[in-house]
Amino acid sequence: MFAYLLNLSVLICVNAILAMTLNFLMGYAGIFSLAHAVFFGVGAYTAAFVSMHFSDSLFVCTAAAMIISGALSLALALPALRVRGEYFVAASLGLQMLAVTVFSEWRSVTGGLGGITNIPAVKVFGVPIETANGFFALGVGYLIAVALIIVVLLRSSFGRNLQAIRDSESAAYALGKNVSAIKTLSVVVSAALASSAGVVYTFYLSFINVEGFTLDLSVLLMAMVIIGGTGSLLGPIVGAALLMLLPAGLSFVPGLPQAEVGLVQQAVYGLVMVLLMIYRPGGIVGGGSRKLAASAAVKGAR
């Protein structure tokens, strides 16, 4: 039972990193991407490739994953920043489709549909990470590191630039902000940070294939962000934990056949989403009535 919880915790950390980095785009830059699983995948494949051919050092693998993922994210950013809103969603959807094809067909690097097996253990200062506890520490460590980087960025002028664009793009332009450059940089940062989740995932499972990086995951990540609360730091973590625990919890419901769990899970996801949009449109952490509470507080102070 403890091993099971530990396993679940590592996967929650991986998904929480992805949800946080997606929220960086959705909640702060106002960019809705359906291609987030691509950068998770690029991180995972890069880490696997580097560890098998060049170095099994965690730092080398992570750095390589972040650089390649960040560079490839320009493929999403540069053409798509010419368009806005729903057109960007469509462009990101296209990239997601394209990436899945590349992941399944580029056999020399991704192993094709079969994926990559026998990924060697990763080493930190020469010490291999092999135990469940080790991977738990790695997952939590990366989650904390990513969270800290995001907090620092959001409190900086870069974070204000992003929020300015989200609140009014035309006003940001009128104040001399190079909106395209700021958006491009935010996509690169988000993709690079998301790839770190791929590194953890790759070495934890020591087996990866395209199944883990499909549109399904991109949609699930978006659900995590929306359910947890966009534009808040804790929201995506709560959303990730909830959507990971839900299927796990359902498998313990007595009388529910294992074969039916997937079906019930989909129905519960749908129901939760609909109820949230009605009662808490800001997400669980976001709080639907925050705006009203804040305006009441200011009026009271006057």
Binding site: L153, S156, S157, F158, R160, N161, Q163, A164, R166, D167, S168, S170, A171, A172, Y173, A174, L175, G176, K177, N178, V179, A181, I182, L185, V189, G231, K291, A294, S295, V298, K299
Partner: protein, 264 residues
């Protein structure tokens, strides 16, 4: 109020000798079958206040959008300090010194008052601003001064969307001051202000003009037209019908009938 009073009593000769800061040359804009702006030529001289008047739909805001690059002109040219800026990106035009406000304000509504103003001072798109801690401290000090000048200091930590209407208008101007724009294009800055806020606005505008800011205002408020403006330009149906001192324009019976209706 110790600000230099810019008013229509200043002699036309003194104003005419000032250098032209921004010049609009035969500017035109067509939206499909609608000619929104037709061959408008206008000179904004440094340090004076020009007010654009005219009925709704005359093309005043479109003219602003053409100058600031938010819209691309169909014909004509815009020169700022003698250089053509038409066709440039709006952020590029803004960095050269052409600032504006919007009729619907477009504040960064989920950011605080202080963050709104601070962000207007931060031009770099990179992960950090140049100049390190010393520059960051200087920007914070500048924001504090601007908040004091715009009466926003007590509201520094309030979110923009929680402000009252007049406060929001002052915040939009505070952002403009913070951006270091040398020419201000203000879209109906005085509409909806109560008398006290209006007086504060006029005082703020005059002190900024005394500091060297050039202003072009879209406004229907007659007090702004008569008592704040040095020059008035009259637009109707996308055409510039007249340009002159407030008295010259307002006393033209033809323009008055367009603006105030047939009975005027």
């Amino acid at each position: 109020m110790n600000a230099v009073t810019q008013s229509s009593t200043a002699t036309a000769g003194a104003l005419d000798t000032r250098p032209v800061l921004l010049e609009v040359r035969k500017l035109g804009k067509r939206f499909g079958g609608v000619q929104a702006v037709t061959d408008v030529s206008l000179q904004l001289r440094g340090g004076i206040v020009t007010t654009l008047i005219g009925p709704n739909g005359a093309g005043k805001t479109t003219l602003f959008n053409l100058i600031t690059g938010h819209l691309a002109p169909s014909s004509g040219d815009v020169l700022y300090q003698g250089q053509s800026i038409s066709g440039k990106e709006p952020w590029d035009i803004a960095r050269r010194g052409v600032g504006r406000t919007f009729q619907d304000l477009r504040l960064f509504s989920r950011m605080t008052v202080e963050e709104n103003i601070l962000s207007a001072t931060e031009k770099s798109a990179w992960l950090w601003q140049p100049g390190g801690r010393a520059e960051a401290r200087r920007r914070r000090e500048k924001v504090a001064e601007i908040m004091a000048a715009t009466h926003l200091t007590p509201l520094a930590n309030a979110r923009a969307l929680d402000l009252a209407y007049a406060e929001r208008k002052f915040l939009s101007i505070a952002r403009l001051i913070a951006s270091d724009a040398t020419i201000w294009l203000l879209d109906e800055p005085a509409s909806g202000l109560d008398p006290r806020s209006y007086d504060r606005f006029v005082a703020l505008l005059r002190s900024q003009v005394a500091n060297g800011v050039t202003v072009c205002i879209i406004e229907h408020n007659l007090d702004v037209v008569v008592n704040v403006s040095d020059r008035v330009a009259f637009l109707d149906q996308g055409k510039l019908l007249a340009e002159g001192t407030p008295r010259e324009v307002l006393d033209d019976p033809r323009l008055a009938s367009i603006y105030f209706g047939e009975t005027a």
